[in-house]
């Protein structure tokens, strides 16, 4: 069971005026950052890193950064729905049906259901964090490199098979992501890899650069192919709130998304991106009208938005209990903790319990703040629809170009982003899913470090992944998953072959 006294102490800390103020600032900035394409929570947290030096209290610093992170999950849906451009990576899936709802004049209900789903999921996520983190911190002490490697393999396979329509292309993108993640310094030996004599490539490719390039620049290029100049929506926007029927349709989607997102978010590298992808696939399978997906099905918004918020919260679990950041944003928060002299991991709860419970308590408060911020302001965000894309496109281009520079003050990063943008554009033209690439990029360094450490432990034998119980379960699950999908695919092909033959006859 959880530490009630600890949680109450956490609320006492989180409800102090200064922490309430920073929670609000974080939530507000996070929402704004999520809305603006080209600026993501990771870039914003990176910009705020110097501020964290000046904030004396580690709790306050983490409250601010955490607010930016999960605030961006709320705001990211806004741009996805209004512009078909993800405000941040976890909102990619929301574009699919959210934008179609906006095109049908239902941007308000889409935004509303995204906010409500985010609140419900955020609340469930924080409750889960409260209950699960302490026992998991105890369990995490048993994890070693073989377990971490097996966990990352399983997470990557789930992302590849559960998202996109073509697992082969998904796997290719995942491998490309792992390769891109290995560019730069080898984390174990310090050797420089794949720099080809270019000094700027000796530091690893930045996640923000990659994400902005693939999803920011790439999206602009795709949209520019449309030669007709038109505003995004010319119809009047009415009924800015979801109807009772919308809520009824979305209810179970939000619950499923919350639970799925929570489970997936715990996986290193899983996080909000994978959670939203898995949720979308799940809702499509559960739906009585799967043909509506892609045409403006509200479950296609409710589920993924709930999932990404729940995952954003649960992604704090591996960060705080295992000391493993699951994505770029939690990696930034990891850096903030180190700046404040606190090492996240299994000993955080034992040695810095007030920090842990203060952050958890502030998430409850921040969730309420975000609901209040987002629902009343839905109409304001919806007005963005009236701005023609002809003006939005250069704004988005400016934000991505300037935003990526602001992370490392590096012109090379802008070049890298443009190259990634071209890659993302071509990949989308050829129907390659970019989600697995992004996930693999994040997981790659953790996966490699764990693999090599595990092989060091076993003197080069791969048996270690199957002889240690936890690793064996994870690896076995991964193998069964792949075999199950191959078998299903073969059955489908075998069923289709006689039908095709009979038609030909």
């Amino acid at each position: 069971m959880f530490d009630v006294a600890g949680l109450l102490q956490g609320f006492a800390i989180a409800l102090s005026p200064i922490n309430l103020l920073f929670a609000f600032i974080g939530a507000f900035v996070g929402t704004a950052v999520g809305v603006l394409p080209g600026l993501g929570p990771a870039a914003t947290i990176a910009l705020l890193l110097p501020v964290s030096y000046k904030i004396g209290s580690p709790v306050t610093a983490i409250i601010l950064m955490a607010g930016v992170f999960y605030g961006a999950m709320y705001g990211g849906s806004t741009t996805s729905i209004l512009l078909n451009i993800p405000g941040e990576a976890a909102s990619v899936v929301t574009c699919i049906d959210g934008y179609q709802m906006a095109r049908k004049g239902r941007a308000g209900p889409a935004l509303g259901i995204a906010a409500i789903g985010s609140f419900i999921a955020g609340t469930i996520g924080v409750l889960g964090l409260t209950l699960m983190a302490p026992p998991l911190a105890e369990f995490a002490l048993k994890f070693g490199p073989p377990e971490y490697f097996s966990l990352t393999v399983l997470g990557l396979l789930l992302a590849t098979y559960l998202t996109g329509e073509n697992p082969l292309k998904g796997l290719i993108m995942a491998i490309m992501g792992l390769i891109l993640g290995s560019v730069g310094l080898d984390p174990l030996s310090g050797a420089v890899r794949f720099d080809f004599g270019v000094p700027d490539l000796q530091s690893n490719i930045d996640f923000v650069t990659l994400a902005m390039g693939l999803f920011g620049v790439g999206e602009i290029l795709i949209n520019l192919e449309q030669t007709e100049a038109a505003s995004i929506l010319t119809t009047k926007i009415k009924n800015l709130w979801p109807t009772v029927a919308d809520l009824a349709r979305s209810g179970w989607a939000m619950v499923r998304g919350s639970l799925l997102g929570f489970a997936v978010g715990i996986l290193p590298g899983g996080g909000a991106v994978l959670a939203s992808l898995v949720s979308y696939a799940t809702e499509k399978k559960f739906s009585k009208h799967p043909e509506e997906f892609g045409q403006g099905a509200i479950e296609g918004v409710a589920g993924p938005e709930a999932a990404n918020n729940s995952a954003a919260t649960s992604s704090f679990i591996p960060l705080l209990t295992l000391g493993i950041p699951g994505n770029a944003s939690t990696a930034m928060i990891f850096a903030v903790l180190l700046i404040q002299g606190i090492t996240p991991g299994p000993f955080l709860l034992k040695e810095h319990a007030p920090v842990f419970w203060g952050v958890v308590a502030s998430m409850y408060i921040g969730n309420v703040m975000l609901l209040v911020l987002n629902l009343p302001l839905v109409g304001m965000w919806a007005q963005l629809l009236r701005v023609p894309y002809a003006y939005m496109a250069p704004m988005i281009a400016v934000l991505t170009l300037v935003g990526v520079y602001s992370v490392n003050n590096s012109v090379f990063d802008i070049w890298t982003m443009i190259v990634m943008g071209i890659f993302g554009y071509v990949a989308r033209k050829l129907k390659f899913d970019l989600g697995p690439l992004l996930l693999a990029f994040v997981l790659g360094p953790i996966m490699e470090r764990s693999l090599r450490q595990a092989l060091l432990m076993s003197h080069g034998s791969f048996h270690i992944f199957f002889t240690r119980p936890i690793s064996a379960v994870l690896m076995g699950t991964a193998v069964l998953f792949v075999l199950g999908n191959l078998w299903t695919a073969r059955r489908t092909r075998n069923k289709r072959a006689p039908q095709l033959e009979s038609r030909a006859a």
């Binding site: 491998i175 030996s189 050797a191 890899r193 281009a397 003050n409 070049w415 071509v426």
Partner: protein
């Protein structure tokens, strides 16, 4: 479109070959009997080569109908890329704010064929927002431009 899938497969095969070559000859597969810096990239290169070959094999037959890679508006993405490249080239020389202004003006004039006054006004406004948001509010150290003694 299947021909383009085969082209993608060939491109990915080349990437795989480069990765494998670098892993073996530049990096180390093994270091003192333990996995070296080239170990995992080598494995990834092999897997990528196999998957790329599969991609090519699964798209061997030609499309029954001719499907072009660019179906419409092919020039606009290229022009946009050109404007973005020009932005980066001029970034350190002209400074961040002026580069932003020029990008927006060029974009609206060339890509969107907007009137000159509208393009200039939008560009100046965007530059002002970038200045206040990034340089003043977020204190991001943007270049002022070597042309202006920055």
């Amino acid at each position: 479109m299947k021909s383009w899938q085969r082209v993608a497969g060939v491109f990915l095969l080349i990437v795989a070959a480069v990765v494998i070559q670098q892993s073996i000859y530049v990096l180390r597969l093994f270091d003192a009997g333990q996995p070296g810096s080239g170990f995992m990239p080598f494995g990834l290169g092999i897997i990528l080569a196999i998957l790329s070959a599969l991609l090519i094999l699964t798209h061997l037959r030609s499309d029954p109908a001719k499907v072009r890679f660019w179906e419409e508006g092919w020039l606009r993405p290229i022009l946009a890329l050109g404007i973005m490249v020009a932005f980066v080239v001029g970034f350190n020389w002209l400074g961040a704010v002026l580069s932003v202004v020029i990008l927006v003006v060029a974009w609206l004039l060339i890509l969107e064929r907007k009137p000159v006054m509208v393009a200039v006004a939008t560009g100046v406004l965007t530059g002002a927002v970038v200045y206040f948001l990034f340089e003043v509010a977020l204190q991001a150290p943007f270049p002022r431009g070597r042309l202006f003694g920055g």
